[in-house]
């Protein structure tokens, strides 16, 4: 085996392509294949896509550039984690402690990511072996409940589910790849897994797009209808009890429309069928749609995960980061919009109908609806195995990078070797992951960590990035760093966008969410903590202990004390 130990200072990426593939690999994961199709189905239509692309251009791309610039600057000064990079750039110890959030959040996300990886690997193997029978669609929900142990706490370890085996394999695979180091492990892994992932996804996509109208008894369920549901800026939907049950085809005549309404009425006897026309403007005026679109960009591009910052810190000073960042973002969007969205939403609509696609939860769409999709497809077992295998590969590339900031943090603050750092990270993560896999009743632990670490912390860290970039380092210094070695000219007005537009949008989104969570609907995650639910309290208590441990690591470290400023002050 090749040399696994690499000192932090000596490590840099082998090639620009390798860097881009690793960053794209870190971004492509559950966000693309589960979250995006789920949201696209939920908010279906051109309005969501317009909001999504606005968020991509005004939040995603600038914030990624900010993270890359901070990361590379931190790396040049000798810091590879959020905590050290903040300290070295700001020359202030306060930022060191604030930066710990950028190390804590990815670790917390990694805890439930491992568990979800166990799901995908388990679904892949169970589909291949036939343990998940694709002949009895009524059993899919029961299989999901038994396999994930969602009925009660500790159900996964009752012996009925084989999930613990896959969960264990996922953890070992991740720690091994981390142990092999940055250039030897992640870059090598992404070099072969990303192309395999794309080829497999394209095969499934081609199959989905050639489905036509799979069920003659339901002529309204077709790929064309699915594409229309996802992309038409305005549409007419049929609603029963506030739930979308069908969509009127775009070219339907008045008699066809009437026929469809009668058919829906027959399926829902005694209930009122409402016909609603949703225009593009109506869609764009919905604040929830903007929050969902922006949140998806954050999650999908791994903004605030701290992983991009750590990756950027390994890029040499004279090498390009601006182009690598945009390329990785573009690759992520191609997989998300061009492949995952086009694959899952049209397939769900054409095989199950609009109601099933719109009504499924994010994870429900992936793990309970998709087996039904594969069951209704010729060669479903093969496609099912391929899809879940592909999802496992995508999630492993993501989780490797999610754990990398914590490894880098221990390497630099305590001067631990790679092996020791991976062992400590493994121990910290294992306890949290075990809690997630134990408290599976209503997926309490998973949802709690996802909310506090995977949502709240991302906004907090992004705000910290903008604050340090704009207020402490100086936008001009930051843009100079971003432009150093760049193969593309930076857009004119980027400074204005970073200074004013991005923070404003970020503030509006955060305030809207805060207002809604605090005053409109009671936040269930706060309620769970107040009520002392063990599934919510224990993982969060563990995260609090890890934070204290990280503060202890920083305080006992002899590195990263105050130093003289290196950058000239920003020109006024």
């Amino acid at each position: 085996m090749s040399e696994p130990r690499q000192s932090v200072a000596a490590v840099t990426w082998d090639t620009q392509l390798g860097t881009m593939l690793a960053v794209a690999g870190s971004a492509v994961g559950f966000g693309n294949f589960l979250r995006f199709p789920g949201l696209a189905a939920q908010y279906g239509g051109g309005a969501f896509m317009i909001a999504y692309f606005c968020a991509f251009l005004l939040l995603g791309v600038p914030l990624c550039w900010v993270e890359w610039a901070i990361g590379r600057r931190g790396g040049v000064l000798g810091g590879h984690s959020c905590a050290s990079a903040f300290m070295l750039i700001s020359h202030s110890s306060v930022w060191k402690y604030l930066g710990i959030a950028g190390v804590l959040a990815p670790l917390g996300i990694g805890m439930y990511y491992m568990y979800l990886e166990g799901w995908t690997l388990g679904y892949c193997i169970n589909t291949a072996t036939g343990a998940l029978s694709l002949h009895h669609s009524s059993e899919f929900a029961a299989f999901f409940e038994e396999f994930t142990g969602s009925s009660s706490d500790g159900a996964v370890y009752s012996g009925q589910s084989n999930l613990p085996i896959f969960f264990f394999i996922a953890i070992i695979a991740n720690l091994y790849l981390l142990y092999r180091g940055v250039t030897k492990g992640i870059e090598w892994f992404c070099r072969w897994s990303m192309p395999v992932l794309l080829i497999t996804a394209l095969i499934v996509l081609v199959r989905v797009l050639t489905l036509g109208t799979p069920d003659a008894a339901h002529p309204n369920r077709s790929v064309d209808q699915g594409l229309g549901y996802m992309w038409n800026p305005s549409k007419t939907i049929l609603v029963v009890d506030g739930q979308t049950v069908d969509m009127v085809p775009a070219m339907a005549t008045a008699s066809q429309e009437e026929q469809l309404v009668q058919q829906v009425q027959k399926e829902h006897p005694g209930k009122m069928v409402e016909k609603q026309h949703i225009s593009l403007l109506q869609g764009l005026l919905n604040p929830e749609l903007w929050i969902a679109a922006a949140g998806q960009i954050f999650f999908s591009l791994s903004i605030g995960f701290g992983t991009v910052l750590t990756y950027a810190s390994y890029v040499a000073r004279r090498k390009d980061i601006a182009l690598v960042s945009v390329t990785a973002n573009a690759a992520n969007e191609v997989v998300e919009v061009g492949i995952a969205g086009m694959m899952i939403v049209p397939a769900a609509v054409s095989l199950l109908g609009v109601a099933a696609a719109a009504g499924a939860s994010t994870f429900g769409l992936g793990f309970t609806v998709l087996p039904e999709v594969f069951a209704a497809m010729p060669g479903g077992r093969l496609f099912g195995t391929l899809f879940f295998g592909l999802l496992f590969l995508a999630s492993v590339t993501s989780s490797i990078s999610i754990l990398q900031p914590t490894v880098a943090f221990l390497e630099e603050f305590w001067r631990l070797g790679r092996t020791q750092s991976v062992v400590v990270v493994g121990m910290l993560m294992l306890l949290g992951s075990f809690a997630v896999s134990w408290f599976t009743g209503d997926m309490m632990a998973l949802n709690t960590l996802d909310f506090w670490m995977g949502t709240m912390c991302l906004y907090l860290i992004s705000t910290l990035y903008l604050s340090i970039f704009r207020g402490v380092w100086g936008t001009k210094n930051g843009l100079r760093e971003l432009g150093r070695g760049s193969r593309i000219p930076l857009p004119r007005g980027l400074g204005f966008v970073i200074n004013w537009i991005t923070p404003t949008i970020l503030a509006v989104i955060f305030c809207s969410w805060l207002y809604k969570s605090m005053f409109v609907t009671t936040c269930e995650h706060i309620t769970h903590l107040k009520e002392g639910e063990p599934g919510a309290v224990l993982p969060m208590a563990w995260m609090a202990l890890i934070y204290i441990f990280m503060v202890f690591v920083v305080r006992t470290s002899k590195r990263f004390h105050k130093r003289k400023p290196i950058d000239p002050p920003a020109a006024s």
Binding site: T15, Q16, L17, M20, G46, M49, I50, F53, D224, Q225, L227, G228, M230, W231, N232, P233, S234, A250, L280, D320, L323, V324, V326, T327, A330, A331, E333, V334, V337, G338, M342, R487, I488
Partner: protein
């Protein structure tokens, strides 16, 4: 699927694909710049 739907789809997917292709071309051209030197060295040593 309506015409505005087709336009939205083509613009969105086209935009991300074109962005990726343009960026990849630039990125690969940079990586390839190093290769001819290596090949030259190899041919000289041969």
């Amino acid at each position: 699927m309506t015409l505005p739907g087709i336009i939205t789809m083509l613009l969105s997917i086209g935009f991300v694909w074109i962005l990726l292709i343009v960026c990849m071309r630039r990125l690969l051209s940079r990586d390839e710049e190093k290769q001819p030197k290596n090949r030259r060295k190899k041919s000289l040593s041969e």
